[in-house]
């Protein structure tokens, strides 16, 4: 069953065509790596799929819901880890997770906070103001908020940014584990190693156009790694 479906999806900003006629299908249970060079349109696609932006033309459905008509409903059902957002400055992580739990209607939020602070090793930071956290710690907080309600579909944009190698490994393992529980992850990145290690499927976007989509193995030619395949397709 497809959880993301787009047809001729386009978005332009004044004279810039950020996304052009995008036909994309992501099936349930995939860890879909959406890769492309800087400025290729990856973040714009996430923003369109989660109703943060309205398309110029074309259609899209996320878990059977139109994000243009029902952006709130889509965002209720999915988790989103934005690339550039920090947690609110004057909350502590503990308060912020409670805030997210309140907005999302999560019942057992305290248990989940315990579980996550254990997993990402920041129990001692739970009562510090977010504004005083390091960039890596802020990123951990943002990762947690995206997964806190255990959504069936999560959009994550450059999840490993600012994280140390130990933490990167923990997150990577968690992503694979999450997918194995029949959940879907839409991972936007330009870090080829990450995509190569964890993704089951890949979509490559360049200049707003989808240049290739398929299983990880299908994207690569014989004796080729993902970086080489990417460079061949994107040129």
């Amino acid at each position: 069953m497809s959880v993301i479906e787009t047809k001729n999806l386009s978005k332009s900003f004044e004279d810039v065509e950020a996304v052009e006629d995008l036909d994309l299908t992501v099936e349930e249970g995939q860890l879909f790596g959406f890769i492309g060079p800087n400025g290729a349109g990856k973040t714009t696609v996430i923003n369109l799929l989660t109703g943060q932006l309205k398309p110029s033309s074309g259609d899209c459905e996320v878990m059977g819901i139109d994000p243009v008509k029902e952006p709130k409903e889509v965002r209720k059902r999915v988790g989103i880890l934005p690339e550039r957002e920090d947690p609110p400055s004057f909350f502590t992580p503990q308060e912020y997770f409670e805030f997210v739990g309140n907005i999302r209607g999560i019942q057992d939020v305290d248990e989940k906070i315990d579980e996550w602070s254990e997993r990402l090793k920041f129990k001692d930071k739970l009562n510090k103001l977010n504004k005083d956290l390091s960039k890596g710690e802020k990123q951990k907080v943002m990762v947690v908020q995206a997964f806190l309600h255990e959504p069936d579909l999560v959009f994550i944009d450059e999840p490993l940014i600012n994280l140390d190698p130990v933490m990167q490994e923990i997150i990577k393992n968690y992503l694979v584990e999450y997918m194995e529980n029949d959940k879907t992850i839409f991972l936007s990145t330009h870090v080829m190693n990450l995509a190569n290690e964890v993704c089951s499927h890949i979509g490559i976007i360049d200049n707003g156009r989808l240049v290739k989509q398929g299983k990880l193995k299908e994207i690569k030619e014989e004796n080729e790694d993902l970086t080489e395949a990417f460079l061949r397709l994107v040129k």
């Binding site: 550039r84 400055s89 004057f90 308060e95 907005i103 005083d132």
Partner: protein
Amino acid sequence: MLKHLLKEEWRIHSSLFGGKKFALFPIMVFLFAVIGFYSLEILPITSFEAQVGLHWFILFFGLNVGTIGFVSESGMKNVLGEINLILFSSRTLPVSRKNVLGNFLLKDIIYYFFWFILPVVFGNLVLTFSPFHILSVTFTYTLAFVLGFLTTFFFSTLYNTSRSLAGVTALILVSITGLYVLRHGLSVLPVFQLWIEPSKLNFLYSAIPIFIFAAVGFVLFGRGKPIKSRRKENAFKDLTKKMDALNAKNILDLKRSSGGIGKIFFSYTVLFVFVWLIINYFPFGDTVFRSPLLILATLFGVFPVSIYNWLNRYDSAGDYLYLPLVKEDVVEGKIRSYILLGPVSVVLVVLISFLIFGGTILELLHGLTIALIISLSMLSVVSKLTGLRPNTKLFNTSVFIKFMILGGAVISPFLVLSIVFESFLIWRNLMFVALYLLFGTINYIYLRKILG
């Protein structure tokens, strides 16, 4: 550096307000100045008194500009989005922080000279074409602005070095200035004295505080202790027992950001002092203000606009879009927080005024109702016109003009009625009631639509 800083300031404004709309701002200032100077003919104010007021006003404007210039980097990010300014370039380039800072301060003085001071100077042409007058007001207005601007700079650096020292210094300075003004009147302001009587001595009196504030500010700049990582008790949980989550977040933002809830009291105190000075030191105060309490209540009703500005300083709609929230939800949260804080604060200010200025119980009841109705009306106006961006949109010329027109439409009938108020005339009381019903209904319809 200076050239690039000026270019940066121009681009920040043009990107904030869309296109070059903000370039109209000086024209609007000029028009307001012209209208103001023309109206001297019909108002019982002499041009001497107008110039006193104007020098003080420009000094207050300088204080305000200084506040904007020195909000924290994260505060700036919330207003301007993800940006990096030349101000922070000493982190990556071989240039000292003080060098960048000096240029930054100079840039603000030059920028606001053309953006604000010069249009007011040109407004003086309504009074006279005398080159001496124009040159002298140009000089003294600029000094008044620089004094205000550098006062904020001085206090921001002092605050970063020692909060208690900054508090004590502020208290001493405000007390000395207050006592001096009480004893000698508003015209005691040194830059104004320089305008009245250009002499070396008056120039020294004007320049010395500017020099001291600049020098001490420069010495103290960068000497602040690094901010410790702060731990906080969980306040969110308790707050959400009494209010919704967005509302609780707004209250925590206000409470935990620099200055805490105290910054609202500070804004109110500045406005209160300003209104009090007008009432006490302008002769029309005695003749026009038959019921000072009602006039004050009308003006105080506008004060909570500053609360709406504070509420919107620490986030933007984009900060919530990864959650199941839309912009309207966030606006609703801000409005709920305003309703929680604004009306209570105006009731308090009106009660204080009642104690200071006196009045009948009927006047007090009218005063409270007027302040409440106007505070809600201003909420409707400012939220409708600016949404979640009052801190930037009110500097957009067309939005500001709409704000003035709509705000004026609310305030004017109350002001007029307050001026002609006689408690024993029933029809005037009834007219107040009619205004309450009219604006109460409009606010009810608008706010109900938003709050559901």
